[in-house]
C-alpha cells in the first residue's frame, strides 16, 4: 500500500477577508475592469460568508437582508468575473446543485466541503498528479483537466454539534 503524504492545505476562507479590495483591484485592474461599488459589495458579501459555499441566490438574499443595493444581473455578472479571475470556484454539491466557494487565486487545488457548516478548505495535493498520470497511462487517455471534490465533516463540526 502506498503512503500518500504531501498533503498540504493551502488556506481557505480567509482568502477574501482583508485582501478583498487589494485582490479585487489587482485582478480587475490587470484586466482593464473597473472597481465599482457593487463589485465591492459583492466581494464583501462573499467574504462575510466565512468560507461557506454560496450561490447567486444566496448573495441576493444576504444583500436584501442587509439592505445593500445590488441588481440580480450584476451579481451574476460579477460572479462570472470573479470566476474568471480565479477568486472563486464553482463546486458541485453531493445533492446535485452547484455553488461557489472563495479560494486561493490562481493556484491549482481542490476543496473539502463540510457537509455540516458548508465551509470549505482548499487542498493542494501533489500526489494526485502522479495518480492521474498513472490512470492516463493505463487507459490511453491524455488527461488534461481534472476535478476532485471531497465532502465530509470538519473538525469543528465533529466536536461541536452531534451527528
Amino acid at each position: 500500500m502506498t503512503k500518500p503524504a504531501a498533503v498540504q492545505t493551502v488556506g481557505g476562507h480567509a482568502a477574501l477577508d482583508a485582501f478583498v479590495v487589494s485582490q479585487l483591484e489587482a485582478a480587475l485592474a490587470a484586466s482593464a475592469m473597473r472597481v465599482t461599488a457593487p463589485r465591492r459589495t459583492i466581494l464583501q458579501l462573499i467574504a462575510d460568508r466565512g468560507g461557506s459555499h454560496f450561490c447567486a441566490a444566496d448573495l441576493l438574499v444576504d444583500a436584501k437582508r442587509r439592505r445593500l443595493e445590488v441588481g440580480r444581473a450584476t451579481v451574476f455578472r460579477t460572479l462570472d468575473l470573479l470566476l474568471a479571475a480565479g477568486l472563486i470556484e464553482r463546486i458541485d454539491l453531493p445533492g446535485g446543485d452547484h455553488a461557489y466557494v472563495a479560494c486561493q487565486p490562481r493556484r491549482h487545488h481542490h476543496h473539502i466541503v463540510c457537509t455540516g457548516c458548508g465551509r470549505s478548505t482548499d487542498i493542494a495535493d501533489a500526489e494526485l498528479r502522479a495518480m492521474i498520470d498513472a490512470i492516463g497511462r493505463a487507459t490511453g487517455y491524455v488527461i488534461d483537466r481534472h476535478r476532485l471534490e471531497l465532502y465530509g465533516r470538519c473538525p469543528r463540526c465533529r466536536t461541536g454539534a452531534s451527528a
Copy 2:
C-alpha cells in the same frame, strides 16, 4: 515519488447495451417500480448514445428524431430513477454544464470523459482511497464522499482526428 498502480478500468458504455432490459428489470423490480414502455425507450436511447454523455434535452431530441413517443416529464422522472438505481451518473463538464453518463451500476468508480467524442470510461482506482484517507488525517475532516472527474482525449480521438 509514489508509484500509483492499481488503476483498473471497469468498463464503460457497454454497460447498457445488451443488458438494458435485464438491468432495468433487476433494478426496478427490486424497488417495486414498473417496467414500462417509455422506460424501455429511454434506456434504449441512452444505450444508443454509445457511451457519450447526454442531458435530458439530448434524449428528447433523439426521441423526436426517431419518432419515439416520450413525454418531457417522463424523461426527467426516469433519469432520476436511473440515477437512484445507479445505472447512470451525473457528471459535470469542464464548461460548467452537467450531463449524465451510463455506467457500471452500484460500484464506486470515477469517470474519464473524452473532450473529443464525449464518451466516458469508468475507472476504479484503489489508490484514491489511500490518498483521501491521508487528506482526512492532514485536515482533520472525516471525509465520507468524494468525486473525481478527469477530462482528456481518448486513444481513438488522439489517433483519428487531429487536435
